[in-house]
């Protein structure tokens, strides 16, 4: 009876660590909860997801950067987010970072972890549901940047799964 349910994606020794799927399932449940609650209204309200992401980002970055040196400037902060931070959360760096040097940053991820398992690459079946999977991360980005002193708005954009873009627009005082 052994090895009855071996699932190709999660054999032992594969890259994904066991405790990581916990976050994915929890994330899924949170989305379900928020979406089912906003069912009564016509417009889907994902702001609560975003807000939860914000509070998580705000706290986690504070713990991570506690021992670190002060960042040189805004770009330095964004670079840290795109490399080390992204890497430890989503197992890969952001693939491409663009900026106009006036406070707009666009982060491209060609294979975003939370979108990776919802269909074949290039499939359009779940395209309209995909904002649900990104709202939390938008908030996470906004929260972590806020704690590092960068007030901004973050919007996500998906054109073809599993790649996505995060538009970070810094608010100047």
């Amino acid at each position: 009876m052994k090895h009855q349910f071996v699932d190709g994606k999660s054999v032992p020794g594969a890259k994904a660590e066991a405790d990581e799927c916990l976050f994915e399932y929890l994330h899924g449940e949170i989305i379900n909860y928020v979406v089912s609650k906003s069912k009564e209204s016509s417009e889907e309200d994902l702001s609560q997801l975003e807000w939860m992401g914000f509070s998580v980002g705000y706290r986690i970055i504070e713990r991570l950067t506690r021992e670190m040196q002060r960042f040189k400037d805004e770009l330095d902060i964004i670079k840290f987010i795109c490399t080390d931070f992204w890497n430890s959360l989503y197992h890969k760096q952001v693939d491409n970072l663009r900026t106009n040097h006036h406070g707009v940053y666009v982060l491209h991820d060609n294979e975003f972890r939370l979108l990776a398992k919802i269909g074949k690459a290039g499939s359009r079946q779940y395209l309209c549901e995909s904002p649900r999977l990104l709202a939390f991360t938008c908030g996470l980005l906004r929260g972590s940047l806020a704690n590092l002193g960068v007030a901004c708005t973050v919007k996500a954009e998906v054109t073809a799964l599993p790649s996505c873009k995060f538009n970070v627009e810094v608010q100047r005082m």
């Binding site: 349910f5 032992p12 405790d19 992401g53 986690i60 430890s88 959360l89």
Partner: protein, 178 residues
């Protein structure tokens, strides 16, 4: 750059991400429901939904077969905690009939950063866990009940989770089929 000397520990970051996300969820639920009892219920339900998926992950990772008895099940549950949360709760307080035991947690990463405010004393903060166990066991044809008896957040010495075997589930055949 000297900053790069301190490498982020991905495992730690991920477990903190889970802990903090769970915390954000609980605080959101407390805002949404007036009654703390409803929060406990909602957490259990979410845990159940996670459990029915998590069991597949567990089976795939461990390749474990059927349990011979409930003691065997207890050990598998214990190893599940080791795999997914990195903790090993001790198995204690077996009932005489052997159908009930306790899992005692010295530490619990889920409640690492938590203090319960006075008005939430009836909140079962980790009530996701009993749900996970119920969901996971149901998927392997076992009905169990699970609840907290002691909680470190309420100044008990350990966190104690009680697990009780109820019955074996037979595969239900859809009506009208033999």
């Amino acid at each position: 750059m000297s900053r790069n000397v301190i490498k982020l520990d991905a495992k730690k970051v991920n477990s903190e991400l889970f802990t903090l996300t769970y915390g954000a969820l609980v605080s959101q639920l407390l805002k949404d429901y007036e009654n703390v009892e409803d929060v406990n219920k909602q957490l259990e339900r979410m845990g159940y939904n996670m459990g029915i998926r998590l069991i597949e992950d567990f089976l795939a990772r461990t390749g474990s077969g059927r349990c011979y008895d409930f003691k065997d099940t207890a050990e598998k549950i214990q190893s599940g905690f080791k795999i997914f949360l990195g903790i090993t709760p001790s198995i204690t307080n077996w009932s005489v009939a052997g159908d009930e035991f306790s899992l005692c947690f010295e530490t619990n990463p889920m409640s690492e950063f938590v203090e319960l405010p006075d008005h939430c004393l009836s909140l079962k903060y980790c009530n996701l866990l009993p749900g996970v166990l119920r969901g996971a066991c149901e998927m392997v044809q076992m009905e169990i009940a699970s609840w907290f008896v002691q909680d470190q957040l309420k100044n008990d010495g350990v966190t104690e989770l009680r697990v009780k075997f109820i019955k074996r589930l037979e595969d239900a055949i859809p009506a009208g089929e033999d």
